[in-house]
């Protein structure tokens, strides 16, 4: 693990990604303390205040401080997207490993069905799921987890097929271990590394999907300061105050860049021969 971290720190993407990640982590943990104002304090005299002291990122249509809303909003944007991705990835990893373990017709049937589910675009699947479950942050996160799972299952299966041929798996079968034991205790730990790399890259995607759902009014609900929702609410005022839109947009982009860099850095760190 420390070895992987060292190698991660040797790639430029890894360094940049980790730096951005620490900033985001700080903001998620201490955003409420760091925020100069309360994110919900309205000030009608100070509506649409331009960026500069005392509102460094300006004020929005209700006179709320944009910087404070961003700092507090990180907590309603990032952790849910991360949790959604990793739970979806875990479910996908189990399905993919199981498929590779079973092999033959079962493998074929599972793979074809996964391919079929993937024919529905992620956003559309998430939209239908959210409209079924009801709008809200948690349901949006659940929808994202479900839409991430099939593609992660496919990635995991391709790795697990090689693991399936290893001697320790054959030994476990020869010992007469049950299928569940072999999938969970013998195979899953050995497919974990590539799955984590893939999942890290998908976090970027999940952050964007989550913000998009909120933007469409199906994710976080007002008065939350989720970043996608902030863009959506500010859209009507883009003439008067473009900064209300630009600030959360950049925050979303920075978060997605962070996880993309981190995922690429991890990939390079774990495949030293691959010099892309």
């Amino acid at each position: 693990m420390t070895d992987a971290l060292h190698r991660l720190l040797r790639t430029p993407q890894g360094v940049l990604g980790l730096a951005l990640l620490s900033v985001l982590l700080l903001v998620c943990l201490f955003g409420g303390v760091l925020a100069p104002y309360s994110p919900e304090t309205m000030d009608f005299a100070g509506r649409f205040a331009a960026p500069g002291a005392p509102h460094w990122f300006g004020a929005d249509q209700l006179g709320r401080d944009v910087l404070s809303r961003l700092l507090v909003g990180a907590r309603s944007t990032i952790p849910l997207a991360v949790a959604a991705t990793f739970s979806g990835a875990a479910a996908g990893a189990c399905i993919g490993t199981l498929s590779a373990y079973l092999g033959g017709r079962w493998d074929e049937a599972i793979t074809r069905t996964i391919d079929a589910v993937m024919a529905v675009p992620h956003l559309l699947l998430a939209l239908i799921l959210v409209s079924t479950l009801g709008k809200g942050s948690l349901n949006a996160a659940l929808a994202i987890a479900i839409s991430v799972a099939p593609s992660m299952a496919r990635v995991t299966r391709s790795v697990a097929l090689a693991v399936r041929q290893q001697d320790y798996v054959k030994a476990a079968i020869a010992r007469g271990e049950g299928g569940g034991w072999i999938v969970l205790r013998e195979m899953l730990p050995n497919v974990a590394a590539p799955v984590i790399v893939e999942a890290t890259i998908r976090v970027a995607f999940a952050v964007m999907l989550f913000a998009t759902l909120s933007f469409l009014g199906l994710g976080a609900q007002p008065p939350a300061s989720e970043w996608g929702l902030m863009v959506s609410e500010a859209r009507r005022f883009m003439h008067q105050a473009p900064w209300i839109i630009v600030a959360p947009s950049l925050a979303i982009a920075a978060t997605a860049v962070c996880f993309n860099l981190l995922g690429d850095g991890l990939r390079d760190a774990l495949n030293p021969r691959d010099e892309r």
């Binding site: 079929a116 675009p121 409209s131 079924t132 469409l216 947009s249 982009a253 892309r276």
Partner: protein
């Protein structure tokens, strides 16, 4: 030929799974179709009559069977919102979406392929670093952010192009193109970023291969090596990547059509979801999945036709 048949069977299986998935999901929508249709104030007798007519009392599998067999005869049902047949409305909308998607794909390829190859050839130099920075930013901007930023700068600040709306090409070609520019730019940006990175890494793989070294060592001019050997081998895998990205493109189209008020299939689906118009949600989702499955099949066929080394059967 056996391969092609198998491929077509896969498409059919895909559509079957998608239809079950979509029907199953919309079945548990917490909405009583009869109430949606008649409004909250309808009499119990009227509601019962509608439930009878729509077969809402039947078991789920029977409802699915009725829906599927109608679907196979080209009947997508009747919209609960407009009381019009869903099929024609959806296919008209699909036409507009395909125009948006097609233009975006072409623009994306025109930018992404040269950019990726250039970055690979100048690997590690300033051009490569700049291209990869742009692509990191590109894949990190969701469509609604790109669209909003483009609207602020180009439509609002400089007033160069109209902000929203749709004009049919048959009506006024120039206006139609002017209305399409911003949506097309939005949809293609994220794809340019993704595909150019893929083209770059494929090209680097090919440049490092033995056959390129052999071609160079036997004294072929660099231009010929690039055009005859590198390009062809690097671009083949790109076909598959682009086909898989069509799914992403379709998702992007949903958001972009909503923002730019383009009456395409994405907007139809959003309206259907917000008004809980079940037949429209079902039809929209099935048509989108079918589009994706067909695009991928065409890409596979193209791949086999271009690359004679590949034999699937």
């Amino acid at each position: 030929m056996a391969w092609l048949l198998r491929r077509l069977l896969t498409v059919l299986y895909t559509l079957l799974v998608v239809s079950i998935l979509v029907f199953g999901l919309t079945q548990i929508l917490p909405a009583d179709a009869a109430v949606t249709l008649l409004g909250e104030n309808a009499t119990p007798e009227a509601l019962a009559a509608v439930r009878q007519r729509l077969g809402l009392g039947d078991p789920a599998w029977l409802q699915y069977w009725h829906w599927l067999s109608a679907l196979l005869q080209g009947d997508f049902g009747t919209s609960m919102r407009t009381d019009q047949p869903v099929g024609p409305a959806m296919f008209t909308a699909l036409g507009r979406s395909l125009m948006l998607g097609g233009c975006s794909l072409v623009l994306m390829l025109l930018i992404a392929v040269p950019l990726g190859i250039l970055a690979a050839l100048r690997r590690g130099k300033a051009t490569d670093v700049a291209a990869s920075l742009v692509s990191y930013l590109g894949v990190s901007l969701p469509e609604f952010v790109t669209a909003t930023l483009l609207l602020i700068v180009i439509a609002d600040h400089f007033q160069l192009l109209p902000a929203t709306g749709y004009v049919a090409p048959s009506e006024n070609l120039v206006e139609s193109i002017r209305h399409l520019i911003l949506p097309v730019l939005t949809v293609s940006l994220i794809l340019v970023a993704h595909v150019s990175r893929m083209v770059r890494s494929e090209t680097i793989d090919v440049l490092n291969s033995d056959y390129i070294r052999a071609a160079r060592l036997k004294g072929l001019p660099p231009r010929i090596v690039l055009l005859r050997h590198v390009l062809r081998n690097a671009l083949l895998p790109t076909i598959t990547i682009v086909a898989l990205d069509v799914g992403y493109l379709l998702g992007g189209i949903i958001v972009v059509e909503e923002i730019f008020a383009i009456p395409g299939i994405g907007r139809q689906i959003i309206v259907a979801i917000t008004t809980r118009d079940l037949p429209s949600i079902q039809a929209g989702a099935v048509i989108m999945a079918a589009t994706y499955a067909i695009a991928n099949t065409l890409a596979d066929i193209a791949y086999v036709m271009v690359d004679r080394r590949i034999r699937y059967d």
